[in-house]
């Protein structure tokens, strides 16, 4: 699988200034996040649904802190935890359309988070030339390691 990154220099410049960020990408792309993440400490918001448990364990394996909740369950507590994590110097990783959708429509939670923490939101997306999509909430995408990808790569912090 070949990976390539476009626009990563914007994020690197923010990190060099000591700025933490909120990373926002459409739902269904969490599993590609470990490939793309360029920071040191990220807290990712994952729903409390049982499907979310699988994703949460995978994210934890790759070093992410997981915060469980969504607009339908545990949302308020999750927002509080995200605000705390953001103020303590970590990056926040959220899907602004959430697990229930509507897909590709920004909900207010992420905007509130940016307002309260003062952190900039950085849009991030992924695409794969060959992928497997399966149903977890909204359509979930997983890259098949055989074709070229368009995402991520060189982490400036190793």
């Amino acid at each position: 699988m070949r990976l390539s990154t476009i626009g990563g220099e914007t994020v690197d410049a923010l990190y060099r200034q000591g700025q933490r960020i909120i990373i926002a990408f459409w739902h269904g792309r969490q599993l590609m996040m470990p490939l793309a993440y360029r920071g040191r400490l990220g807290s990712i918001l994952i729903s409390q649904h049982r499907d979310g448990e699988i994703i949460a364990r995978i994210m934890q394996y790759f070093g992410f802190q997981t915060i469980r909740g969504s607009s339908t369950r545990g949302g308020l507590r999750a927002i509080r935890q995200l605000v705390k994590a953001g103020r303590e110097g970590g990056d926040l990783v959220v899907t602004p359309d959430g697990p229930k959708g509507p897909a590709c429509k920004v909900q207010s939670g992420v905007m509130y988070l940016a307002k309260v923490t003062g952190l900039p939101i950085i849009p991030l997306t992924f695409a794969c030339s060959k992928k497997k999509s399966f149903r977890v909430g909204i359509n979930f995408k997983f890259p098949i390691p055989a074709r070229k990808d368009c995402s991520c790569g060189d982490n400036p912090y190793g």
């Binding site: 476009i6 626009g7 990563g8 990408f25 307002k115 939101i121 849009p123 991030l124 695409a127 368009c150």
Partner: protein, 66 residues
Amino acid sequence: MWGQPIWVNGNLPNDQLSGPGLELERSLNRLTAQAELAVQDSDPVQYFLRTMSSHDMTGKNDTFEV
């Protein structure tokens, strides 16, 4: 594919958060479309199929890496 930062003013009233929300939505949709196009162009089969279905080969590069 990373986009440009979107800052939300801490003094912005909650009922006006939809403005930067729309900006984020447009940015994510535009980036996703660009990323999908980028991986299509890097896939020789997809490139061949798109080129053949365009009906206009004039000025187009008809070779591709396999």
